[in-house]
Structure formats: structure tokens, C-alpha cells
């Protein structure tokens, strides 16, 4: 939970004593999501939908007769394309002031939060988590992002003045992004 924004629907405390509203909203979202199962989904590379030669089916572990969707069998070339797109975007992104980057990333966390119940319902269907575990996981995804945004601010963007040996010298320590990171998950 982010102490600064105070806007979160779900916290540690909420999950230990879930309200009726939490159940109602989760169940409504689950119903909405169930009407959207079984579709074929593209990958997204450089902001564009991309399809592969092959797809694979994903079923719910809590009801193996339930087809969640068809997904693209991405190749090494697709991974390479995604990496290249991220590398092309990196110079402009990293050149933006850290305050702006924090703002953009906070907005992303806000979008996760807005879709909390939908994403939780999908998490339950996809991995079989019960509703409180699923809601906790999704809220936590947003909260981790908020947390690191707060850390950036608390540390002045990790751009700090050091001691100066004379009036015409400025010494700073700056933490600068490494660059593109690849996350491989299964």
C-alpha cells in the first residue's frame, strides 16, 4: 500500500476483512470476463498487434474444459523484434526528466488499479487463485509500482549533490538507467 496516495481500494486490512462490495465487484467482473474467453489474442510488439505462424490453447486449471484463449507461439525473431523496439525507444525515454518518467509509470499503476477486479477475475481463471489471493496479487502489482515511484521521489531521483572542493566545482552522483531489460516468464 502506498501511504502517500491513500486512494487504494484494497489493502492488507481489506483483504483480511473483505467487504460485501469487494465480493460483488469481483463476481460482476468474473461474469464479464467469462463472456470474453476463447478468443485469439495477438502479441504486441512496438505497439502493434503481431501474429505468429502457430498458436497454442490455454485452459483454466480449475476447469480444464474452459478454454481461456488462443495465444501466439512467438519465435526467437519475435523476441528479437521486441528487444529492438525497446532499444529504439530507450534514448528518448531515458532522456526525459525522472519526474516525468515517474508520472508516466504512476499512470500505468493507476490503470492496473482501475482494472483491479477484471484483472483479478482473469488471474483466478488463469492460475486458479482464490479471489482474495487474486485481488491481492493485482493490487500488489500496482502498489509495487507506486512504491518505487515514491522511492524515486524520496531519493530526489537518485541525483544528488556531493561535497564541492571549491566554488567553481559541482560534484554530483547520478543513478542512470542501465537500459532495456528482458523478462522471460513461463
Amino acid at each position: 500500500m502506498n501511504a502517500n496516495t491513500g486512494s487504494h481500494n484494497v489493502t492488507y486490512a481489506t483483504l483480511s476483512m473483505p467487504s460485501d462490495e469487494l465480493h460483488t465487484r469481483y463476481e460482476a467482473a468474473l461474469e464479464r470476463m467469462q463472456t470474453r474467453l476463447g478468443q485469439t489474442h495477438p502479441m504486441h510488439i512496438d505497439g502493434q498487434p503481431v501474429t505468429a505462424a502457430e498458436t497454442f490453447a490455454v485452459h483454466s486449471p480449475i476447469d480444464t474444459g474452459c478454454l481461456l484463449g488462443q495465444f501466439q507461439e512467438g519465435t526467437a525473431q519475435h523476441a528479437h523484434d521486441a528487444l529492438s523496439a525497446a532499444r529504439r525507444a530507450f534514448p528518448a525515454w531515458s532522456a526525459r526528466p525522472w519526474q516525468e518518467r515517474v508520472e508516466v509509470v504512476r499512470r500505468a499503476a493507476g490503470l492496473i488499479e482501475e482494472r483491479l477486479y477484471e484483472l483479478s477475475a482473469l488471474t483466478s481463471l488463469e492460475v486458479g487463485k482464490n479471489r482474495l489471493e487474486a485481488i491481492g496479487d493485482v493490487q500488489e502489482a500496482a502498489d509495487l509500482i507506486y512504491y518505487y515511484c515514491d522511492q524515486m521521489e524520496a531519493n530526489q531521483g537518485f541525483d544528488r549533490l556531493l561535497l564541492r572542493e571549491s566554488a567553481n566545482v559541482t560534484n554530483r552522483s547520478v543513478l542512470r538507467p542501465y537500459g532495456v531489460w528482458v523478462v522471460i516468464s513461463h
Binding site: M1, A3, Y12, L144, N171, R172, L175, R176, P177, Y178
Partner: protein
């Protein structure tokens, strides 16, 4: 090398100190009834392992994490005049 993500103990006051000082795990809980070793939350508990349960031994959702995605540069600029 083994792993060491989360761990918990309850009750015995003597064992508690020994547990906290010697357990090789990144997350520890003492006397926690619900979800004994799970359920860390950003800002409440850091979450990350030691040894094979970690790549850097700095946990998520805490003070030392986000810096790992950045490298430090010292910038000394001298004004000529």
C-alpha cells in the same frame, strides 16, 4: 547452495532470537497466525530471498530494490572562468 525465501517460527522466546539471527532466509515471520510465511505487502514487508532464491539478495518492495536497475555516475563539472 540451497534456497532461502521465506520462513517462520512461533512461541518460544529463546528460539525466536536464535531463529532471527541464524535463519538463512530473506523473509522471516514470528508468531504470525494467518499465512505463516506468505503475504508480504509493499511497504509492510520486503520480499526477496537469499542464496538460490535470489539474484541480488535485495528484496522487492523495499529500500534497496529500484536502484538495481540503474548504474551510478559521478559527475564533476568545473566552471572555467
Amino acid at each position: 547452495m540451497g534456497c532461502g525465501l521465506s520462513s517462520a517460527i512461533s512461541n518460544d522466546p529463546e528460539e525466536i532470537a536464535r531463529f532471527l539471527d541464524h535463519i538463512q532466509a530473506g523473509v522471516t515471520y514470528v508468531n504470525r497466525q494467518g499465512g505463516a510465511t506468505t503475504g508480504a505487502w509493499p511497504g509492510y514487508q520486503s520480499f526477496g530471498g537469499w542464496k538460490g532464491s535470489s539474484s541480488t539478495s535485495k528484496a522487492a518492495g523495499s529500500f534497496y530494490y529500484v536502484q538495481q536497475y540503474m548504474r551510478e555516475q559521478s559527475r564533476t563539472v568545473i566552471e572555467l572562468g
